[in-house]
Amino acid sequence: MTAPVTASRAAATEQPATLLAGPHRADTARLLQSVLDTAGPYEAVAAARRLSGGPLGHALADVAAQRMLHEPSGRRVPFQELGSRVLTPLSRKYDLDPAHAEALRFALRCRFFYPGIVGTPDAPFALKPELPDGYQPIATPEQIAAAQSKAGPDGLNTSYMISQMKGGMSADFGIGCPLMCAYCYRREGATVDGYLGSWEPKGFLTAEEVIQRLLAHPWFTPHVTPIGLHMSTSEAFLPRLWPRTWEALQRLDALGLTNRVSCITKHTLTDEQIGQLESLVNVDLDVNVCYAAMPDAVEPANKQRRADFLRRVLASDKLNVLAYYRPIAEGVNTTDEHMRHVWQTFKEAGARTVVLGGLKFADDHARSFMSYGLPLPQGTFTPGKKLLTAATEQRSLTAPAPATASPGPSPHSPTPTRRSTPSTWPPAGSPSPPGPPTPVCCTASSAPCSRHPPSATRPVTRSPRWPPPAALPAPR
């Protein structure tokens, strides 16, 4: 396993003591990172405080005193949420000028590790100008780019298995899922991508291999790029895959990475496994449980066990859990009864946030549905896009309440919002807001859902060491 990429500790001892921007920044970063420890960032905060004074020093003192780099649950505040949860309040409180606010941002960025080939505290989005001694990426950017150039229309890289998808990186260990959802676009047989899958998971990479591939990928930015585990080719919580999923999460956590990591599931975990997930400190884990009252013949995974799992995992005060109301397939699971059932299930499970999503459907899916004797979804599908009409979305939000149960979402209260900004997400462990679950849209359109924030917009600078940008295919 690769050691975290840090500056030489020897070099740090001779550096000028200032956090402000200037030519010495790289040395300062090395100095602060030399005392960084995965067990806790506050020693490094104290070191930064010793390099500063005045309002900036007070701000750093607050960070340490109030343990502002941790959530109440004990988990790290993700890198992506530093701005909204730490920097902005402190800059406002101490009236920091732009130069000192930027210095505070830099100091706090030094609290994070930057393993892999991308990111340093002073250039967290850029390829490293030089790699740490002894670190040998598993593949060169040229090799990875060449593999990615052969990816299918949806971006899935079936050779390197780390894929730049619409909203982040999909880290896939292998191909195959036994749940046999009829609408799956990685189902058995040749799909529209000419991609041969299998219902049975087999030939899966080890967790170590997958993390190495991720860190070597030039489009993976530590703490920034959302990661989906098994998102494109399998199911993270299958008993057969759980050991790899868990090991990958542990490895990411041990690297001090705070990227958002998502697992979308129609399977379940035991309470013991939920407890394991709760022990993660750094990784910003989302567990997204799909439930859409889909007929068993379309989606065979047991619904009752899923609803029970959703309830149990939502009880955790340390995990981010989303109720995934998807896929919503026009005509298949869109009666009022379907919708009432789903909302009632989510309400009884204690869901706070619900993600709505449509169905991606193509001609080869139509053939599958026909060959399985299933009703075809209705509507006009655009290749590669999910379909959820505005009318159905609105109907799902205003589904009449069941006669004997408390109502689902009020027709007035939910305001569909997209969870693409991390700061809008309530911290894990925060109390549930009163009232019904809040729907979040992950619809058809090209609009990204919470799992798919636009990542291609981040600024990227490249070192001359790497091929010029033109040699690398643009991220999808």
Binding site: P295, A297, G331, T335, M370, Y372, G373, P375
Partner: protein, 529 residues
């Protein structure tokens, strides 16, 4: 010049206006006809297409529009539109035939259609799937009502011999051609429709003996596609069908206590053909029964039980030939029917394995450019019903591969008992066929191919009771292959002079021995597309 241009422009404008009015009226006209035809819409839509295509002037367009407006009243009165276009008048005869068809008007179908709006899970069937769901429900209910859950009734008895079952196949097939404007046939190929029927049975967990409801639904799908093709080809034509018989009096006789295995086979064939020819009111068919048994018992039974129909003539002949084993009777019958002037001639076994209401599938295959022969194959991906899920036994598969190799015939099912030919192909081929035994099929196909005609195949739904694991009908494949080898020599394809690994292997081990080493998953040779 300006005056001429202006006149043309005005004419075009009026024509476009009149045609637009006809187009605008189209849905209403179809609905009015459908309301009088049990919901059937294909013939109506073809009639309106013909009207639309026939008009060339604004006046004609207005006449066509007036005719479309009067369609409902014409059907009620039994009249015919007084239009000057023969093709449109022929189409109208199809409309009236469809409206008068007994199988079009079915209260059971109407109820099934209503109930098939959605699934028990609350999902809605796509309109193109709904007819299949309705048909499936009807057939499941019929089988369970008729037979309960016990035993495995033969599918030919259930869906052909017994009038209720046969009528139900035709009711469903008629409505699959187009009910209220919806048909699955235009959207899905038969392979997919067969899979869909199986999927329905699996999802519904219906315990129906022998999956008879699936067999019936697939037979209806095939019959519907057969009739759809005929509806689209309004020809004043005729077709001849040879039915060879030998010692089959009991099959020709209706079932009763003394003859429980009776099939009423000839009457059923006439009924199946008559249903199909509703789509061709101006067409005629001739069934030629050729009894090659010296005792003539089959011919006598045929005379007794042959049913009559205005569009179907049954002719019964006796022809004894010492050396014939089916081949002599078929080849003689084919020659007779070609001589009688039929442009297309087919042959079918007497048993009800191959429903004659699927004859349109063969005619459609023959309609391809260059085609001289069409095989109703039991072995294609879009075939159904003859073989158990594992397919034919290894000996049968090896025989097919050897035939392909020896005769250069890339067909999946050379021995199928349901084939059709163009008269021109038969005129060229028949004089060259000398094999009157069980291998006459391959000799005839090879002669057709040698005469420069293409041999095509189409998948059929066979009504056949197979037993999983049972080796099937015992045949002397080794003797048949020796005959095929002789045919190859006659056609200049002497295996001694060519690379024939399959044939060599069979010669070395005998067919049964070679078949034992055949890999279980071996694929049937792909037919030409």
């Amino acid at each position: 010049m300006f005056d001429t241009a202006a006149t043309d422009a005005v004419a075009r404008h009026r024509h476009a206006q009149a045609s637009a009015a006809l187009d605008a009226r189209r849905e209403q006209a179809i609905a009015e006809i459908a309301s009088r035809a049990g919901g059937l819409t294909l013939a109506a839509s073809l009639w309106l297409d013909e009207l639309r295509a026939a008009v060339t002037t604004p006046e004609q367009a207005e006449e066509a529009l007036a005719t479309a407006r009067a369609a409902g009243r014409l059907l009620d009165s039994g009249g015919a539109p007084d239009v000057p276009w023969p093709a449109a008048r022929a189409r109208w005869r199809q409309v009236t035939a469809a409206a008068r068809s007994e199988t079009a008007h079915s209260g059971a179908w109407d109820r099934a259609w209503d109930q098939a709006a959605g699934t028990p899970d609350g999902s809605a069937w796509d309109p193109a799937q709904r007819g299949l769901a309705a048909g499936y429900a009807l057939m499941t209910a019929h089988v369970l009502r008729r037979y309960g859950n016990a035993g495995t009734p033969p599918p030919d008895r259930c869906w052909a011999t017994e009038p209720d079952g046969r009528t139900l196949v035709q009711v469903v097939a008629d409505h699959l051609t187009g009910h209220l404007g919806h048909s699955p046939l235009a959207h899905f190929d038969d392979k997919l429709l067969i899979d869909f029927a199986r999927g329905l049975a699996k999802n519904n967990r219906d315990k129906v003996p022998g999956e008879l409801q699936v067999r019936g639904l697939v037979a209806a799908v095939k019959a519907a596609r057969s009739k759809t093709w005929l509806l689209g080809k309004p020809l004043r034509t005729s077709v001849g069908i040879v039915v060879p018989v030998r010692g089959e009096a009991r099959r020709i006789t209706p079932p009763d206590a003394q003859n429980p295995d009776g099939l009423d086979a000839l009457a059923v064939k006439v009924a199946q053909l008559a249903w199909l020819l509703e789509a061709w009111p101006d067409a005629h068919a001739e069934i030629l029964v050729v009894d090659e048994d010296p005792d003539g018992a089959s011919a006598n039974a045929a005379r007794r039980f042959a049913a009559g129909h205005p569009q179907v003539t049954v002719t019964i002949a006796r022809r004894h030939e010492e050396t014939s084993a089916k081949g002599g009777a078929v080849l003689w019958g084919l020659a007779q029917l070609v001589g009688a002037g039929h442009p297309v001639v087919a042959y079918a076994d007497l048993d009800l394995t191959y429903p004659l209401d699927q004859l349109g599938l063969l005619l459609a295959a023959l309609d391809q450019p260059g085609a001289g022969a069409a095989i109703g194959s039991r072995r294609r991906a879009d075939s159904h019903g003859y073989y158990p899920p594992g397919g034919p036994n290894p000996a049968a598969r090896l025989y097919q591969r050897a035939v392909t190799e020896l005769l250069g015939l890339p067909v999946s099912d050379p021995q199928a008992g349901f084939k059709a030919f163009t008269a021109s192909a038969l005129r060229a081929a028949l004089p060259k066929v000398t094999d009157h035994g069980l291998s006459f099929d391959t000799g005839l196909l090879a002669a057709v191919a040698a005469a420069g005609h293409a041999v095509t195949e189409t998948g059929v739904a066979a009504l056949h009771l197979y037993t999983d694991g049972h080796p099937g009908t015992p045949r002397d494949y080794d003797a048949m292959l020796r005959a095929v080898c002789e045919q190859a020599v006659r056609h200049g394809r002497d295996p001694v002079e060519r690379d024939t690994p399959v044939w060599d292997k069979i010669q070395a081990a005998g067919l049964a021995g070679a078949a034992r080493s055949l890999p279980a998953g071996v694929a049937i040779g792909s037919p030409p597309s």
